[in-house]
Amino acid sequence: MLKRLGYPSLEQVKSCFPQQDVLLKPKAIIECYEAIPCNPCETSCPVHAITIGQDINHRPQLDVDRCTGCGMCIHSCPGLAICVVSLKQDQAIFKIPYEFLPLPHVSDVWHGVNRAGEVIAPVKILEVRSTPIQDHTHIVTVAIDQQYLYDFITIRSPHE
């Protein structure tokens, strides 16, 4: 599926998530399914929660207990394959990388989009972060209904 269509199966997606009770604190979700020569996620993590190792073709392994949810790996990943997720009451809070203009504004309601590019549900914009270290990969924090935990991946402007 991933090889032919470009997006993973639900099973693959779920394999990247920890148990839901772990997500009461924000944790990185790394969707890097393939052995490619790449390692900025590992070298950017301040607490060494991601391991790839000497052979940079290995897939990244996350030590969930170590991960503080700081989000440094989000903008460091050239594949835009990492987001940080937490659960708060009936909402899932996602920090996602975003490289399009215009940027959303805080408290806007945008479209939530799944991995196949389909609009699934409205999301509320909670924060838009664009510090110099992110080098133009903006980090947008959004809230979406928890039932979309394994479906949501990005946002789209409702004005398109």
């Binding site: 997006y7 490619i36 020569p37 390692n39």
Partner: protein, 366 residues
């Protein structure tokens, strides 16, 4: 005739990295670049590079070019840069002829490093000469260097990393990419790049190719057709997609012309992208003191081009009698680094190609 110590042809990551080491070692370097800008492919790349952090991964391509150039700038008195200067001929006695603003000039060097990179492959189909049909490189040059949109509605042919990345860049620029076509059964590039595109709603159509372009004075639509496992068209599967831009990204092939002209021993290795020089383990071609590195020796990545450039910089500096401190360690590091970059599943083609290049040749390794 103008005499120089080392001449480097091409200012991409390979050429720049070789220059960096040579200058640090104390050599005098003259670099010739046919474009008005320094950096080769890098200057068109607005995305963050994958690869090893050691070779500037997660840095955007144009910034990598700046960083590599910064390493060189400190040596202005040893470094001579000729932009818009195309090397049009080369001879086995290490003489080159350079064309610049209507004037031809000859230079001779003690060593020449050829780092001319690659050129794009084309695809033949009816009407492929209509305006609006571009190579991916041209689309990048238009958008990312000159800020010009290639069109409004586009289709990309080819799902390798370049096809996927350039499609993403088109979407960022505001071009509506209607589909990416791929003749093979599977997506060619990294799946993280495919997923990035797919979540924008761009379908990637595998086992599909372009049958013909439609239009009178410019492209107005394409007709696609599905392919079976043996890459044969399946009848009655044609679909028409109205577009004003067709972008072709079906692979690169080494810019071997100068090497062939110099009389270096060449071999055709499909895994490496076409005609490549047979080289010693020191990356020396069959002609003494003519070296080659980067995509011209086999299509790969900027990360490997950087390390190869550094490696050749070391070899040539030693050959000319400049021993850089820690020479053996640095050389060993380069070899290890290249091994690591190529050891994964995506390096398989390169490994196979290099084996073929070494095996069964009459050329002696020194």
């Amino acid at each position: 005739m103008n005499q120089r110590e080392v001449i480097i042809i091409g200012s991409g990551p390979a050429g720049l990295s070789a220059a960096g080491i040579l200058l640090r070692a104390g050599a005098h370097v003259a670099m010739f670049e046919r474009s008005p800008l320094i950096g080769g492919q890098l200057i068109k790349q607005t995305h963050k590079f994958f690869g090893s952090q050691k070779q500037y991964a997660k840095t955007r391509g144009y910034d990598i070019a700046k960083k590599l150039y910064r390493d060189i700038e400190a040596y202005q008195d040893h470094f001579e840069l000729h932009l818009e200067a195309t090397v049009v001929a080369i001879y086995p006695d290490r003489v080159i002829s350079v064309y610049r603003q209507g004037v031809y000039q000859k230079y001779q060097a003690q060593a020449i490093i050829i780092a001319t990179g690659a050129s794009e492959r084309l695809l033949s189909f009816p009407n492929n000469d209509l305006p609006g049909i571009y190579g991916a490189g041209a689309v990048q040059t238009l958008m990312n260097l000159y800020g010009v949109l290639p069109g409004k509605n586009a289709v990309m042919v080819g799902s390798g990393n370049i096809g996927l990345i350039v499609s993403y860049q088109m979407m960022q620029a505001g071009v509506n990419v209607k589909a990416v076509l791929e003749a093979a059964p599977n997506i060619g590039g990294y799946k993280v790049h495919a997923s990035k595109l797919r979540r924008l709603g761009v379908p990637i159509m595998t086992q599909t190719t372009v049958k013909r372009a439609i239009g009178m004075t410019a492209i107005e639509a394409i007709e696609t057709i599905r392919l079976d496992e043996k890459w044969q068209p399946i009848e009655d599967t044609e679909t028409t997609i109205p577009i004003d831009t067709l972008c072709i990204s079906v692979g690169l092939t080494p810019m071997h012309q100068l090497l062939s002209m110099a009389g270096a021993e060449m071999r055709y290795i499909s895994e490496l992208g076409g005609c490549v020089p047979h080289m010693s383990s020191a990356h020396e071609t069959s002609i003494r003191n003519i070296f080659a590195c980067g995509d011209v020796t086999g299509i790969e990545e900027a990360s490997s081009a950087i390390v190869e450039g550094q490696f050749i910089g070391l070899i040539v500096s030693e050959r000319l009698g400049y021993a850089l401190e820690g020479y053996h360690l640095l050389k060993h590091e380069c070899t290890t680094e290249l091994g690591i970059l190529r050891c994964g599943p995506f390096g398989e083609k390169i490994r196979l190609g290099q084996q073929k290049l070494k095996g069964g040749s009459s050329c002696s390794n020194d």
